[in-house]
C-alpha cells in the first residue's frame, strides 16, 4: 500500500491547517500556535507513550472527520488523539472545554502546596502558568494537603513528592534514556508516589534530564537548589564537545558564575531537537561543567514567553484598594514593615506589571527603563564592570 502524501485538513477554533496523517490534535494546534494550543502538563513529544494523563489538554471534537462528521460525545485528550481529515476541533471556543479544564486545574492544585515563593521551580513552572491562566483566586478545598518528606535521589536530584502532579514524564525518562530503570511509581490513586527502587539509586549518565522534564518543582537540581531565583539568572546558549551527549545546553549564569546547566527548551517547554533528535544532555555536562571556560557561549537564550518569568502575567492585575488594616481584618500586627524600605527590588514607583518582560537590575537602578535583552554577546566571561553593567547587582551580566 503506497502511502499517498495526502494531508489532513483540520479546523481548530475556526483556524484551518493541513497536517500529515498521524499528527495529534495537540501538535496540529501547536503548528497554529497561540491561544489555540491547549496546555499540556504530561505530554512530552520526545518521550514515547507520554500524555493522556493530566487531562489539561482536553478538547471538544465537534466533527470527527469529513467521512464521519458526527461529534465525539466526550472531550478527548488532544495529545493522544490523532486528527482525521475534515475534523473540527473546539478548544478555547468551547465552554465545555473551559469548564472541564478549569476543573482539571483545580484538581491539580488541591493537593499542591501553594507556596510558589519558596519553591525552586517558581518562575519556570508549568503548573504556575496553568494556574495563572485557568485557576481560581481561591480554593474550595478545605482539607489538609498531601505531603511527603523531601528525598535525595542520588547526589544530584532531589525529589519533593509533595509537589508532584504524577505526570509520569520522569518515569519515561528513566525508561527510555537510562539503562537500568530504577525509578517508577509506587502505590496508586492519590496516595501514589514517585520512587526509586533503592532510595539513592539514580545514578546514570542521563538521569539529570528528569529534572528538565518535570513540569513542577518535584524534581530539582541539588547543585542549584536555592542558589538563586531563576529570574535573577541570565540564560545563555552554550555548547561543548561532549563524548556522551550533544553538548548543547543553556547555562543559567549570575555574573561569571554558572549556577545551573539545563537542556535547551523549545517554545513548549520541551527539550529542543537537533536534526530530529532530542538534545538530552548527560550528567557530566549538567552537573560537572560549572565553569564558563568549559563552554563556548553562543548567545542569549530566548525565553519562551509563556512562562511566568518570560511573559508578564501580572498585566491588568488589580491592585487592592483596601488599606492594610482592612486587609488584615482590623488587626494591627506588631511587626509590620514597608517592604519597599528594606528591599531595593520592590519599589512602588516601578510598575512591574507594565514591564514588557522580566525585571532586571536596571529596572530598579532607574538607568534603563525600556526592556532590552539581558545580555549582550562578548561580555560573557569578561570582567563585567564595563559601563552600563554592575557586577554587584545580580541582574546585570
Amino acid at each position: 500500500m503506497a502511502e499517498a502524501p495526502k494531508l489532513f485538513k483540520v479546523t481548530i477554533d475556526n483556524i484551518t491547517i493541513e497536517v500529515p496523517p498521524g499528527t495529534s490534535i495537540l501538535n496540529a494546534a501547536r503548528m497554529i500556535g497561540g491561544d489555540v494550543t491547549p496546555p499540556a502538563m504530561c505530554y512530552y513529544s520526545k518521550l514515547q507513550g507520554s500524555g493522556g494523563k493530566c487531562r489539561t489538554c482536553l478538547v471538544e471534537v465537534a466533527a470527527g472527520s469529513t467521512a464521519d462528521p458526527r461529534p465525539m460525545p466526550k472531550l478527548v485528550a488532544s495529545c493522544r488523539t490523532n486528527v482525521m481529515d475534515g475534523m473540527v476541533v473546539k478548544n478555547i471556543t468551547s465552554e465545555r472545554v473551559t469548564d472541564a479544564r478549569n476543573g482539571v486545574v483545580e484538581f491539580l492544585l488541591i493537593n499542591h502546596p501553594l507556596d510558589c515563593p519558596i519553591c525552586d521551580q517558581a518562575g519556570e513552572c508549568h503548573l504556575q502558568d496553568l494556574g495563572y491562566d485557568h485557576g481560581k483566586e481561591s480554593t474550595r478545598y478545605e482539607f489538609s494537603r498531601r505531603t511527603f518528606d523531601r528525598e535525595d535521589i542520588g547526589p544530584y536530584i532531589q525529589l519533593h513528592m509533595t509537589r508532584c502532579i504524577l505526570c509520569y514524564r520522569c518515569t519515561y525518562v528513566a525508561d527510555q534514556l537510562t539503562d537500568n530503570r530504577v525509578h517508577g511509581i509506587l502505590d496508586r490513586g492519590d496516595h501514589a508516589e514517585i520512587s526509586t527502587y533503592i532510595s539513592k539509586a539514580i545514578e546514570n549518565d542521563f538521569s539529570g534530564n528528569m529534572i528538565d522534564v518535570c513540569p513542577v518543582g518535584a524534581l530539582t537540581d541539588r547543585t542549584f537548589r536555592f542558589k538563586n531565583r531563576v529570574w535573577f539568572t541570565k540564560p545563555v546558549d552554550a555548547h561543548r564537545d561532549c563524548p556522551t551527549c550533544c553538548g548543547k545546553v543553556t547555562l543559567w549564569n549570575r555574573g561569571d558564575e554558572v549556577l545551573r546547566v539545563t537542556v535547551r527548551k523549545d517554545p513548549w517547554g520541551e527539550v529542543q531537537s537537533y536534526d530530529g533528535k532530542p538534545g538530552w544532555i548527560c550528567n557530566t555536562c549538567r552537573f560537572d561543567k560549572k565553569k564558563l571556560s568549559d563552554w563556548v557561549i553562543e548567545g542569549p537564550t530566548k525565553i519562551a514567553r509563556h512562562s511566568v518569568m518570560g511573559a508578564n502575567h501580572y498585566i491588568n492585575a488589580k491592585r487592592p484598594l483596601e488599606t492594610i488594616s482592612e486587609v488584615m481584618g482590623g488587626r494591627h500586627p506588631r511587626v509590620l514593615m514597608d517592604i519597599h524600605k528594606v528591599s531595593d527590588v520592590n519599589q512602588p514607583e516601578v510598575m512591574l506589571s507594565e514591564l514588557p518582560g522580566p525585571a532586571t537590575g536596571d529596572t530598579f537602578n532607574g538607568q534603563k527603563l525600556e526592556y532590552s535583552t539581558n545580555i549582550t554577546d562578548g561580555k560573557i566571561g569578561s570582567p563585567s564592570n564595563e559601563e552600563g553593567t554592575d557586577s554587584t547587582n545580580p541582574n546585570t551580566p
Binding site: R55, V104, L166, D190
Partner: protein
C-alpha cells in the same frame, strides 16, 4: 421457574470434577464446534444469540468478536476477565467455584472461534483458592484431550493459563488487566487503540467476562436463535445476579431476563423480600458503580411501567430516573440504611482503587471522600452538597477509563435522589454523631416509599 442455562447443574455433587461434568453433557459444545463448525460459524451463532457482555458495559459479544483484527502471522488472544472486584458482585466467583469446567469449556469453544491458541484467565488475587480449582479443571481437561495440540484431530491447538492479580480493582478494566497480565503496573491504557486491534503484547485480543464466556456453551449447544428466544428484546438469555444487602436470601441467582425487579426482590424463588418487615428504601441494581435508585423509581419507571430485570428496563429514564444492569451486583437497602454513609463507603472504595493516572479521578475521588466523611460525621456545610455535585460532574467523562465515571455516578445519583438526606445530616450534626456511635436508631429518617 425461569430457565437456567449456566447454573442448572451447579448443584450436582462433584460437578467440579471432570468425570461428573462430562457425564452431565459437558464439553459437547467443543465437540460440536470443532467437528462441525467453522470459527466464523461459531461467531455467527454468538451474534445471533444477542449475548451481551456480562462484565458491566453490556456490549454485544458477537459484535466484539467480529471486530477482532486478524492480520496474517500475528497471534490472537482470548483473555477472560475474572477480576470481579466490584463491590456487590460475586457471580463469577460462584460459577468458577462450583462449575469450573463450564468456564474452561466456554473458553475452548470461544478460543476456537477467535483463533486464540493461548488463552488466559486473569483472576482476582483474593480468589486464591479458585485458582487451584481452575488449575485442576484445566489439568483434567488437558488429560482428556480437550486442551493441548490438535484437539479432537481438528488441527486446533489451545492452552489455558490462569494468572492471579495482586488485589487491585482497576485491573478489572480491560486494558489495565492486559498491562497487568504483561507484568506491568496495572494502569489503564489510553484508547484507541482498542484491544481488538492492539491488546495483549500488542496483538489483537478479546477480553470477556467469565459469565459471557460461559454463556457461549449453551449458545453453541442449542444454537444462537434458541438462546435469543429467552428474555425480552435485546436482553437475551439468562443473567447471573448476585444479590446482597437487606434481603432474606442473599446469593447468586440465575434469572432469565423476563422477571420484574419487584418479583426478584420479593418472591421466595429469589431474594425472598426484606427481613424484619422493614420497607425497601433503595437499591443499586448493577454493582456499586451504577446509580442508586429509590424504591419508587426502582419498582416502576418514571413512565409508570413495571421495571424489569433487563438491560433496557433498568436503564429506562437514563441517569435521571434510571440506572444500569451493570455487572449484576444487586445491593438492597432497607429503610434503616443511611444513604450518606453508604455513599461515603463507596467513595472511599473508589478513592482507594483509582490508579492515579489522570488528575480528575486521582484528586477528585479523594476530595469527594473527604467531603462525604465530613457530612457523615455532622461536620458538613450546605454548600458541600453543591460542591460534591460539581466535583463529580468534573470527573465524569473526563478520565482515561470508566473508573472515573464509576466513582462519579454513585455520588451523583445519591445527591439526585436523596438530597434531603444529605441536608438532614448537615442540619442535624449531633444526631449524625450519636448514630455513628451506635447510640441512636436511624429509623426516624423517612423512608423513600
Amino acid at each position: 421457574m425461569g430457565r437456567k442455562l449456566l447454573l442448572d447443574k451447579a448443584h450436582i455433587e462433584n460437578i467440579r470434577l471432570y468425570d461428573v461434568y462430562r457425564r452431565e453433557g459437558g464439553y459437547r459444545s467443543v465437540e460440536k464446534a470443532l467437528k462441525s463448525m467453522s470459527p466464523d460459524q461459531v461467531t455467527e451463532e454468538v451474534k445471533k444469540s444477542g449475548l451481551r457482555g456480562r462484565g458491566g458495559a453490556g456490549f454485544p459479544t458477537g459484535m466484539k468478536w467480529s471486530f477482532l483484527a486478524k492480520p496474517e502471522g500475528v497471534p490472537r488472544y482470548l483473555v477472560v476477565n475474572a477480576d470481579e472486584s466490584e463491590p456487590g458482585t460475586f457471580k463469577d466467583r460462584y460459577l468458577m467455584e462450583f462449575i469450573p469446567h463450564l468456564l474452561i469449556e466456554g473458553m475452548i469453544t470461544s478460543s476456537y472461534a477467535l483463533g486464540s491458541s493461548r488463552s488466559y484467565i486473569y483472576i482476582r488475587g483474593e480468589y486464591a483458592w479458585i485458582v487451584d480449582i481452575l488449575e485442576q479443571a484445566i489439568a483434567e481437561a488437558k488429560n482428556n484431550g480437550w486442551l493441548g495440540k490438535n484437539i479432537l484431530g481438528s488441527g486446533f491447538d489451545c492452552e489455558i493459563y490462569v494468572h492471579p492479580g495482586a488485589g487491585a480493582y482497576i485491573c478489572g478494566e480491560e486494558t489495565a488487566l492486559l498491562e497487568s497480565l504483561e507484568g506491568k503496573r496495572g494502569n489503564p491504557r489510553i484508547k484507541p487503540p482498542f484491544p481488538a486491534v492492539k491488546g495483549l503484547w500488542d496483538c489483537p485480543t478479546v477480553v470477556n467476562n467469565v459469565e459471557t464466556i460461559a454463556a457461549v456453551v449453551p449458545i453453541v449447544n442449542e444454537g444462537g436463535e434458541e438462546y435469543a428466544k429467552i428474555g425480552i428484546g435485546k436482553s437475551t438469555g439468562t443473567k447471573l445476579i448476585s444479590s446482597c444487602g437487606n434481603i432474606k436470601k442473599p446469593g447468586v441467582y440465575e434469572i432469565d431476563m423476563t422477571i420484574s425487579v419487584e418479583e426478584f426482590i420479593y418472591s421466595d424463588e429469589y431474594c425472598g423480600g426484606i427481613p424484619k418487615g422493614k420497607r425497601l428504601k433503595a437499591c443499586i441494581p448493577g454493582g456499586s458503580s451504577v446509580p442508586i435508585l429509590p424504591a419508587n423509581l426502582l419498582l416502576k419507571t418514571a413512565k409508570g411501567e413495571t421495571r424489569m430485570m433487563t438491560y433496557e428496563s433498568l436503564a429506562d429514564g437514563g441517569f435521571a430516573t434510571g440506572s444500569m444492569m451493570g455487572s449484576g451486583g444487586f445491593i438492597v437497602l432497607d429503610e434503616t440504611q443511611c444513604v450518606v454513609r453508604h455513599t461515603y463507603t463507596l467513595a472511599r472504595f473508589y478513592r482507594h482503587e483509582s490508579c492515579g493516572q489522570c488528575s480528575p479521578c486521582r484528586e477528585g475521588t479523594g476530595w469527594m471522600e473527604k467531603i462525604l466523611l465530613n457530612i457523615e460525621n455532622g461536620k458538613g456545610k450546605m454548600t458541600d452538597v453543591d460542591l460534591l455535585w460539581d466535583i463529580q460532574r468534573k470527573i465524569e467523562g473526563n478520565t482515561i477509563c470508566p473508573l472515573g465515571d464509576a466513582a462519579a455516578w454513585p455520588v451523583a445519583a445519591a445527591i439526585r435522589h436523596f438530597r434531603d438526606e444529605f441536608e438532614w445530616h448537615i442540619l442535624n450534626p449531633e444526631e449524625c454523631l450519636r448514630r455513628n456511635y451506635g447510640l441512636a436508631n436511624y429509623g426516624s429518617v423517612p423512608a423513600k416509599v
